[in-house]
Structures are given as structure tokens and as C-alpha cells.
Point group: C2
Chain length 646, copies 2
């Protein structure tokens, strides 16, 4: 009787296959005793598997193409764009390869480093383009090894443009993308997912459309996993191409490349490069409005939306690939109108995950870096293991030094002049520092009329969650409790809660109230007296720049301050207050006073000396209220402290 | 300013020192990434450290001495006594060494195996006595190695009685306890805590009281950690002895041995063996009532209480060691009257922990063995690691076979005749089985007037916690949902709750509702239909004896069903529903039908065939309601199932 409805143990495991991957899957098996419960298949699947799963679920997706920036400043901006556009939920992004721009180098603007940043720091599934013509086998292998080392898992294998007109085939060289595909498969087995380019109108250099289809089939049969097409202007172009591909036996996913027209000049340039012809009906619309950027963009959006709708409605298309030209507005608008931009993406964990394969088991971080996740990732990049929340043993890996505060993806997005306006051209005392903190919390303009939108410890405006604590935070900052991190207590909110929720639906999330601040030794002395009354209920760590450390943490164990309970899972506890890593964080938190703030001012200037004084004399304090079901007592602790001082 | 109140990181760690232990502490360090947070110092300290900590805290304690039983049945009873008297919170128990009884053998009545059981199965800190005279060095080393292998950590080093009158010192042999102490320290370094015997009146064979004190000092200086004294009848005897010890430089703890007089004959025998003289004032009381056991015991209790009070009041005594003679009543009474019997011992975890050193990091078990913890310990005794709740990977250690259902400490405490009275001399159908289950739940007598106080899956009466579910359980058992395990949902009760609390105080405990039962395939078919409505909310595993397994557990991950949140700690999740170990449990749960129930009846008898039918055809089902903050829906699931069937 039961056999009809029966699904056996092995069959009920939905993500059991790792596609025979050789290296990535091994490590997670070794670690499985201590590893995270599989909370989010997205973190464990290869790109090809994600595509398949989305397709099986009838879940439409999109992806975004970017090119590497020219300057370090542009790189900082591009990374912010990754974060913002990443929030919309692309299945992947890809980064083009510019042979002229030293694409495999360690320069902050290289294709390799931009892709690395997208994967590791922005947590985005990323495809790195790579071209092969005019390159030696060793060069290419070197690039691929480096990509693998950096955690990149996907390569778009391209021929690239021959240098100059007199290009000739090299014997034993890489003459076509198919050579690169074969090389990747022979040298790296199944490690990389490989994407190749398709030309809906045929490659401009191909003998014929049919010959080009045959070349595409060769690339697929050499080991490519899916195809992204060159841009096209009419949906029927793509649909015909897709049918033709299928007719000759190409069965892998084929993703249409969408180019929303964003301006007259960019269109002309692209057409020139791609040797495509713009259809007359489009020219007819564009030519009369060619000097009206806004009108052209509106038209481009309309056109893209209607083309995408037609593609999706055909039932043959499951994902759309967007040529963004590194711009945000048009693509975002198209995606929103199509309804595939995720307005409220579910967070798998309460912090931004990294997409490096070795981090897919990472399920816990110290709370200290909550506003500086990129710094945390940077400082733990050499770790082999991502421990389950216990750093207390002697063999735990060390935190890397944050030597270069100007590391480009940690650099403030605001230039010096702007920072001075926010944080004060001239400080007159510790009180003017209190004021900066207070303005950051309240969102009110400072005395010179500027809003404080970032702080050295937080490059972004206040988190939504922190807003829940705004009134209390304002009060204490005014009086010299300079808060840099906090969270409210949460006693079992649904995991789908728009503000504090995370993890799979059907669960409940919890938090212990947390407060972290700099403050004077005078206040610390009073605070310690007050804390005696709260023994057991409140755990504290109090440290100064020299490392003098006062704590009541039992046995130096981490204190879990964020956890979630989910259907059919073990408990997840992704955020802890960890006594050992707090000492690493302390170095960073104190150094930010000097590196980001004091150094805005002339040496020996009074402003600089004020910040230096705070750096040398203040304490960094963190407090946890363990009684999460009761009203947060930390405000009372602070209130009692002020009372004692008066 | 802060330096005054400052206690640094290292100084705030309360249990940092492991006393230089060589082997025990190593393994926990290696495991510390995955190991349990230190919830309970008791599990991690050596006996000598526990003594010191109790003394420092001004916390009075007691310990209990037992001798090995003569028969297997007596062993079963003694182990029940360990469990009962263990509940009162002794600091340790000790098991005497009977050279005539093959004390180091694997016999279920040997000193070695009784001590092993106390440590591993009853979770008691245990001292194994060992005598050395008339034994070879190799024999003794062998015993010690075996003790270490079994997880014993403490040895009481004794000379033992010479065999016969014509005993002579052996050159290079073990002539005195001090030789054994030296041998243990030289062969096992600091692995064992060593206890030696002290004689408040001097050893009967010593030249003098003073000479005996010198011998004692030799034993201590050879490496003994503490002293337990021979019994004595007057408190001043002990207090003088203790002062004399201190005067000659013995500084280790000296624990008075207390002998509550329990009967005329046992007193006489003990006096004969120990060559002690009973004081006249005691003889004067006892002789007239020598045939009145109750009167003598009452007097013995009075005497012991007043002596113990005097000892404790002296301020020199922190712990009391009781010679129980394997009896419960008198000692328990004395302890209760002294107020050092723990009426409500705190549970470090919701299940009974084992005291084997390799299990001190054990912090999670499958819920299935909740009523059979000794079976779980037995079946995992070969494990090297006690995993953090994840058995799902291929390299997880296998569960040992439970080949011998008559393994003495898993044997039912009730004899066959009694079981037949409880479970039915003659079964007339499945309904008579339903009735047995129902009577077990309700506590009402069965149709023949007998209460059902145990079941094959549960050797004890219903747990207090299960009582919370009594009404519902009764209803479903009547209708053929034969429950063998269950727990209510708990949404954050204090960890000090007398019924469901566990772990350190100041925390909160949680549970998901759980229900496990055998039931017919007819009911399973309906149940599966009903469960579709509860998808996500309810996780289930349904399996028959052949291993046909139906589940909706995601990715075969364990589901945490009991967890606790504590001040300054990581989350503890000591109980899980684990899909992999469920299949091992299934074998045991089905086999118990046959081994414990069916085999009570003649082969081919109708009663036996009924049980055999159930074994062959019923399913074992477990259900978890993931929505722990809401009202338990499992009763509704069952209700819906019955409704569907009607």
C-alpha cells in the first residue's frame, strides 16, 4: 500500500549530485561533520545545476554582464554597483576580458581581480571571460590556475579579436574558442563550468550561418555547459537560432543576450564592434531623438521589455542575460518591469555570504565585522576552514593583518572633502566627535548642514534593523557612548520577517541584544560598577588600544547572539560574540580612528590630536543581554551608568 | 583606573588548568573546534579538581562505597541502585576489589565491570579499588591498562589482605600500598587520580599509630591525591587523626569514612574484619535491641547524623564517604537529614551523560534512545568521536549491533512472571496489545488488576515530562497508535524548570513536539494522506521492519528537537531526530517486540503469533512538529488520520 507514495531515503535527497566535480565537493564531504546544514542549495550547487534547478522549477532568472573599469575609483564604484544590483538576485554576473588591460594581473582594475571581488566580497556567482588567441598555452593555464585559486568556478571561453588584420592560424596554438574549451577540460577536468558565445545571426567572420552553427556545436561537444548569445534586435532572431541549434543536436541551455539601448552613441559603437545591423524600424525611431538621451533610454527600455516578454512567453527561454555596459538604470528598470528583479531577496544568513567555494560551509561569523563584511572576508581569506563558531582553541587560524586601509574595496566611497564636511573640518573637542556620531544615528544634518551618511566603521547609512533602536542610540551617543554596532533582541520572529528575517521560510529567528561602543575610561569605571548588578544577565568585553581586556565571558567561549530554528534542520547560529576574535577586531576598530578620520587633518592640528586622544584613551566595549525574551536591559545599564556618574 | 577591577582573559578562565594531565586533556583540545561548549565543569574536571572546587566553594559533598555483587541478578539490582543513589548527587562512588572474585575479569559481577558500568552507563565519577599483594607487576599493569581503556580515571591503591598467615615480604614485589602508588605513577604518569586508605586508629598491623602515620605520609608523597579513612565511631577520633596528619605535613584532602550501623550482624562482621573496637556507649545501646533490626537502624542513622554534623561543623571536613554495604535506606536517610542529598539535581543535558573521558565532549544524541540511554551508550562504545549531531556523512561511525538483548545492564528488572502479568498471559488480538500500551500510559491496572510499569522500549515508569501529554497519549494508544516516545513542545522555559529544564541556570530551553509510535499499515496509508496538508510544518520518518522508509526530511539532515540558549554560550542542541541513526534504532525497536515480548510465550502460541504479526507488519513512525511556538499539531494530525479512516 505504501509503495505508491514511497520515496526512499536516497531519492528524497534533492541535491545529492555534485555533477562529478572533482575538487570542490571533496572538501565539503570531509568537513560534513562540522559543516553547516545545507540551508541554501544556491551555496552548494554549480552554476549549471542552479540553471537546471531554476528551469525545472519554472523560475525565470537573469544575469548581468560588466566590463572591468579603467581606474581604481571606477572600480570602487563598480563594486558598489555589484552590491546594489546583486540585491536584485541575478543568477550570475560575468566580467569581460580585455587583453589590452592586463586582464589576468593583480591590478585592482583587472578582469581577474574584479571577478575575484564579485565572488569573494560581493558573494555573486561569477563568470570570468577569457580569450585565447595570441596567447601561449602556459599563459592561459596560468590564468586558469589563478582563477581557480581565487575561487572562480566559471569561464566564458572566447577566441577574442585577433591583433591586427594579418592574423593567421597558429599550428598547435589557440585559434578558436573551441581550442580553449578543450584545453580547460583537459587541464582542469570538470572543475570549471564553461560558457561559450552563440551568434544568432552567425559570427561575422563565419563562412555561413550554418557553418557557424556547426562551430557552436563543436564548442558544446568539446565540453561547454551553456551558451550566451550575442545581442540581437528581434525576438524571432533568437527563437529561430535556438530552434536551429536544437535541430543540429545542441541541447544545453542557450541564454539570449539582451542589450537595452541606452543611448545613441553606445548603440552605434556596439553595432560597429559587433558588425550587426540595426533594423530599420529601430533606426526610424531613434534617429529623430538621437540627442535626447532620456527619450532614447525610455525607448530602449520599452523595446527590451517587449522583446524579453516575447522571449519568456515563447516557453523556450528561462533566463535573460543583460549587457549592462556597467550602467544600472535601464537594466534595473527592464528587470523590474518584467517582474524578475527580486525586491526582497531572502537572506540565506543574516550576513552577506561569499561565493568562494571554500566558504560555502561558512555558517558563523563574529558580530564585530557586521558593518565591514568585506574586511572580514579579506582578513580570513587565507583560512582553510570556516569554523563552526569556535575560535577559542590555540590552533585556530590567525586573522590576517589589515595592513592596507586603502585596499580598494574597503576604501570609503566618499572623497576626503566630503568626509570633512560630514565629520567636521575642525573639531573643537570630544563633544564635536559625539555630535558626528549622533548625526549619523539621527540622519539629521550636522551644524554645517551636512548629513553624516557614513562613518569609519560603517560605509553605509544605518541598517534598517538599527533604526529600531534609533531613539535610544541617539540619547547615548550624545553623552559619549559612541556606538558602532548594535542589534535589538528578537524572541522568535518568522524567518520571513522583512527586517530581521533570514534563512528558509517556515523558521523562527532569534537575537540577543547587542551594543558595541567606544567610550571614555571615566564612563567605563562607572559602567563596571553597574555591570556587577547585571552579572550573568549581561556579558561584556572591555578593551583599550593597548589590549587591556576586562571580561566576564565564561571560559572565553563564544556567545551566540543570532540564531535560527528551521523545519527539519539543526539549529543555525550565524553570529557570535567571540572573545578571541574581538581582540583582532579591536586592532581594526581602533586603527580606523587614525586611518580614516585623524589622517583627514594636518599633523599636529588640534582636530587630529582630538581623534588621537580618543584612540589612545577610550575603551571599546561590547555588551550582550542574554535574557532575549525580556525587554533589552542594555539601555538601563547605560542609564544606570550615567546616573552613577552624576 | 580600570586595573583595579581588571581580570584578564587568561585569569577569567575558571577551568583552565587540567592539572597537567597527559592524555585526557589532549583529545579535547584537538576536538575543540567541534566540541561542546563547556557547559558543566563537572564533566571536564578530574576528581581531585572537583574536590578542590567544592572545597573552595564551601560546598559540602558525599561519596558512596559499594562492593561487587555475587550474581548477575544482583548486578542488575546494584546498577538500578547506582541510578537511584546517583540522583542524590554523590561526588563519586567507589567499588571495592575482591581478589577472590576475579575482580579484573570481564564477568558481569567483577569489580572492573561494575566500575565500568558505573562510569559509562550510570555517568558516575568512580574510583576502582585495587589491591597489590600477592600479584605480579604484569597482572597489576594489565588491570590498570584495562581500567584506563574502560574510561576509569581513579584508583584506590590498597595493599589488600595477605593470603594466609604466613605472608612474607617479597623482594621487588608489591608489599605495601605505597608500592602500588609508585607503580601507578611510574607507569601511568598523572593519568589516574590516586586515593589511599587512612586509619584513624592506626592500621591494626602497624607497629604504632605514629609509624602508621609515617606510612600514610609515604603513600601521599609517592603520589596519592587524597585519603579516605577506615570507619571510626567517634568524631574526635577522626579530628585528632586529621590534625596529626597535618602536623607531619600531609596536606591533601582526608575524607572520613562513615559507617551507619545498619544491623547487629553486619556491625559484628565489620568489627571482626577491621579489628576495631566498638565503644562501650554504643554496645550499651545495641546489645539490648540486637534482635530489632529497625531499632538498630534508627539508632545507626541517629548516630551517623550526629557524628557527621560534628565533623562538618568542625570546619575541617568538606566531604563524607559512606560505607553503604550496598544498601540504600540508611545512607540515604543520613544524607537527607544532613541536607546534602540533592533532591533536585540539575541536569547538565536533557539526557543522562556518561562519565567516560572520551564522552565528555558528547553533546548530542538522537532522540530515539531517550528511554534506552544505556543501549545507546553500549552501541556507540566503540566510537572515537562524539559528533556534533551530524551522522549523515558516509564516514560516520557505525552503530554497534545489539546482539545480546540480555546484556546484563539492559536486562529488564522484572522477571518473566511479572512481565506476563503486565503484558498479558494470553493475548487475544492486536487490541489486547493496544490495551497494554494504554495501561502503561494511564497507570491504571490492566484487566487482571496489574499495573503496567514497564514496556520493552522503556524499563521505567512514564517520565514526568510525558505525563504532560498523558490524556492525548491515552486516546491514541487505545486506537492503535502505539506510542513509545514523545515530548511536548516548549517555547523558552527557564533552564531551571523542574520538569523540562536542563543546563546552567539563567538559560532558556526549547523543544519541538515529537511523537514516535508503531502502527498498522492501514493507519499509515491514511496518515500519509493527512501529512500532505502539514508539509513543511511536520517532518516524518516512516519505516517497517524490512527498512522501507518514507520521509520528507530535507537532504537527510538531522532535525534539532531540543535546544537551549544560555548566558555567554553557544547554542546547545542535545537532541536530534536523525534520519540515518533512525534506521539503526528501527532494528532495535522492532527486535524488542520479539526479544522482550514474543519470547515470553510458547513458540506457535497465538500470543506469540500476534506479537510476531505486529513485528512483521506494523510501521515505526516518528513525527516532529517544527512550529514549536504554536500549539502542538501532532494530535490534530492523528485526529485527522482517524477521521479519514472512518
Amino acid at each position: 500500500m505504501v509503495n505508491e507514495t514511497q520515496h526512499t531515503c536516497s531519492a528524497s535527497s534533492s541535491s545529492r549530485s555534485d555533477g562529478g566535480s572533482s575538487s570542490g565537493s571533496e572538501s565539503s564531504k570531509d568537513n560534513s561533520r562540522c559543516s553547516t546544514p545545507v540551508l541554501d542549495a544556491d551555496r552548494h550547487e554549480r552554476l549549471r545545476e542552479k540553471m537546471r534547478r531554476r528551469q525545472d522549477a519554472g523560475d525565470k532568472w537573469f544575469s548581468l554582464e560588466f566590463f572591468p573599469p579603467r581606474t581604481a575609483n571606477a572600480a570602487v564604484n563598480l563594486i558598489s554597483r555589484f552590491d546594489r544590483m546583486g540585491a536584485g538576485g541575478p543568477l550570475f554576473i560575468d566580467v569581460t576580458w580585455h587583453p589590452a588591460g592586463d586582464p589576468g594581473s593583480d591590478k585592482e582594475t583587472s578582469s581577474m581581480i574584479i571577478a575575484n571581488t564579485a565572488v569573494n566580497y560581493c558573494g555573486l556567482e561569477t563568470i570570468l571571460h577569457m580569450t585565447c588567441c595570441n596567447q601561449t598555452k602556459d599563459d592561459i593555464t596560468g590564468h586558469l590556475q589563478k582563477a581557480k585559486r581565487l575561487g572562480l568556478k566559471n569561464i566564458m571561453a572566447l577566441r577574442g579579436d585577433p591583433a591586427g588584420e594579418e592574423w593567421e592560424e597558429e599550428v598547435d596554438g589557440f585559434n578558436y574558442a573551441v581550442d580553449l574549451v578543450k584545453h580547460i577540460r583537459s587541464e582542469f577536468d570538470d572543475y570549471f563550468d564553461i560558457c561559450v558565445a552563440g551568434y544568432p545571426k552567425g559570427h561575422p567572420e563565419a563562412e555561413s550561418y550554418e557553418a557557424d552553427l556547426r562551430h557552436l556545436k563543436e564548442k558544446v561537444f568539446a565540453g561547454a555547459d551553456f551558451i550566451i548569445t550575442q545581442l540581437f534586435f528581434r525576438p524571432e532572431t533568437f527563437l529561430k537560432f535556438m530552434k536551429d541549434c536544437q535541430a543540429i543536436g545542441i541541447t544545453c541551455p542557450i541564454i539570449p543576450g539582451i542589450f537595452p539601448i541606452q543611448g545613441y552613441h553606445s548603440l552605434r559603437q556596439l553595432v560597429k564592434l559587433s558588425k550587426l545591423e540595426v533594423p530599420q524600424e529601430i533606426k526610424d525611431v531613434i534617429e529623430p531623438i538621437k540627442d535626447n538621451d532620456a527619450a532614447i533610454r525610455n525607448y530602449g527600455v520599452e523595446l527590451a521589455v517587449s522583446m524579453c516578454r516575447e522571449l519568456l512567453d515563447s516557453g523556450m527561454v528561462h533566463g535573460l542575460h543583460f549587457y549592462t555596459l556597467n550602467r544600472e538604470v535601464a537594466t534595473t528598470e527592464v528587470l523590474k518591469r518584467l517582474g524578475i528583479w527580486k525586491e526582497d531577496p531572502r537572506r540565506p544568513l543574516p550576513w552577506a555570504v561569499s561565493a568562494h567555494p571554500k566558504r560555502r560551509v561558512e555558517d558563523v561569523r563574529p558580530i564585530f565585522w557586521a558593518s565591514r563584511p568585506k574586511s572580514y572576508i579579506y582578513r580570513t581569506q587565507e583560512w582553510d576552514d570556516f569554523p563552526n563558531g569556535r575560535w577559542g582553541n590555540s590552533s585556530s587560524p590567525a586573522f590576517g593583518e589589515l595592513k592596507d586601509y586603502y585596499l580598494f574595496y574597503l576604501k570609503s566611497k566618499s572623497p576626503r572633502e566630503e568626509l570633512l564636511k560630514m565629520w567636521g573640518e575642525e573639531l573643537t573637542g570630544e563633544e564635536s566627535v559625539f555630535e558626528v556620531f549622533t548625526c549619523y544615528i539621527t540622519g539629521e544634518p550636522n551644524r554645517n548642514g551636512y548629513k553624516v551618511t557614513c562613518m569609519p566603521w560603517n560605509d553605509d547609512p544605518l541598517a534598517t534593523e538599527t533604526n529600531l533602536l534609533k531613539d535610544q542610540l541617539e540619547k547615548v551617543n550624545r553623552r559619549g557612548i559612541l556606538t558602532i554596532n548594535s542589534q535589538p533582541n528578537i524572541n522568535g520572529k518568522p524567518s520571513t520577517d522583512p527586517i530581521v528575517g533570514w534563512g528558509p521560510s517556515g523558521g523562527y529567528v532569534f537575537q540577543k541584544a547587542y551594543l558595541e561602543f567606544f567610550t571614555s575610561s571615566e564612563i567605563v569605571t562607572a559602567l563596571l560598577k553597574v555591570l556587577k548588578k547585571y552579572e550573568l544577565r549581561v556579558n561584556y568585553h572591555i578593551v583599550n588600544v593597548k589590549g587591556q581586556n576586562i571580561t566576564n565571558a565564561p571560559d572565553l567561549q563564544p556567545n551566540a547572539v543570532t540564531w535560527g530554528i528551521f523545519p527539519g534542520r539543526e539549529i543555525i547560529q550565524p553570529t557570535v560574540v567571540d572573545p578571541v576574535s574581538f581582540l583582532s577586531w579591536k586592532d581594526e576598530a581602533f586603527a580606523l580612528w587614525i586611518e580614516q578620520w585623524a589622517k583627514l587633518y594636518e599633523e599636529e592640528s588640534p582636530s587630529r590630536m582630538i581623534i588621537q586622544y580618543i584612540h589612545d584613551n577610550y575603551y571599546l566595549v561590547n555588551l550582550v543581554d542574554n535574557d532575549f525574551p525580556l525587554e533589552n536591559c542594555l539601555w538601563q545599564v547605560v542609564e544606570d551608568t550615567f546616573e552613577l556618574l552624576n
